[in-house]
Symmetry: C2
Subunit: 143 residues, 2 copies
């Protein structure tokens, strides 16, 4: 598993309010947006995702709620890999390293294949194969 963060997703109460702050207020350009999420590129190959908290929680629906720490922060760090098989491998590697599997890998409605694990403090990592995600040599993301 490479040491790499590809997305930072903040679970926000209002995507419109977040958009007003980051896009209108700070002047950060939108990379792509949908009603439930706004993507902003914030470094080489790195996307900040302002994501409706309810939908974010629904997508990362836990397999076994009792196993998850009570105060899971509404933030996810994403690590993208090249195939669904690699998602399974990395989730297994993380589990072997001591992570809690929060949501077993599965195909998502948007076409990707993702699993969620929690680190020793409950910080969530999404391990994702996203067939639409590319990063060019200059670090510019297309998603």
């Amino acid at each position: 598993m490479q040491p790499r963060v590809d997305f930072i997703s903040l679970g926000v109460r209002s995507v419109a309010a977040s958009r007003r702050f980051y896009v209108d207020g700070l002047g950060w350009p939108v990379h792509r947006e949908f009603p439930e999420v706004v993507f902003i590129q914030v470094n080489h190959g790195l996307i900040l995702s302002l994501w409706d908290a309810g939908q974010m929680q629904a997508e990362a629906a836990v397999d076994a709620p009792a196993a998850v720490p009570a105060a899971v922060p509404c933030i996810t760090l994403s690590h993208n890999v090249a195939s669904a098989d690699e998602v399974d491998q990395v989730v297994a590697q993380a589990q072997a390293a001591g992570a809690t599997v929060v949501a077993s890998p599965k195909t998502q409605p948007w076409g990707g294949y993702t699993g969620y694990v929690a680190d020793p403090d409950g910080f969530r990592w999404e391990i994702a194969f996203n067939p639409t995600w590319t990063v060019d040599d200059g670090g510019r993301v297309t998603v």
Copy 2:
């Protein structure tokens, strides 16, 4: 204010436990470490900081506790700038955009000058001038 995240700091209960997970378990190389924090490079110009939660909270000590949302996540996204003056300017710009100033800019014991603001959901951003931080053309951080 450029759209850029330079550090992701996770406030962890045990730096040793986090180190065992990320470094020993996942095999991610340490960039630099101290008893209270471990730095790992996780993308072009991007550092993941596993930081003792108590010390992290102390450094970002709030100016006015009552003004801060009750459930501030133990995570900070950092945006680095080139001078102390620029920290003041960016904190003012963020405030004008609707951010709450959590900690007014000040000189830190480690030599930097930083202020903390919270976005509409309470996610904390550190606006920092760190005189020891550089990123080379290939994206490799020195800190």
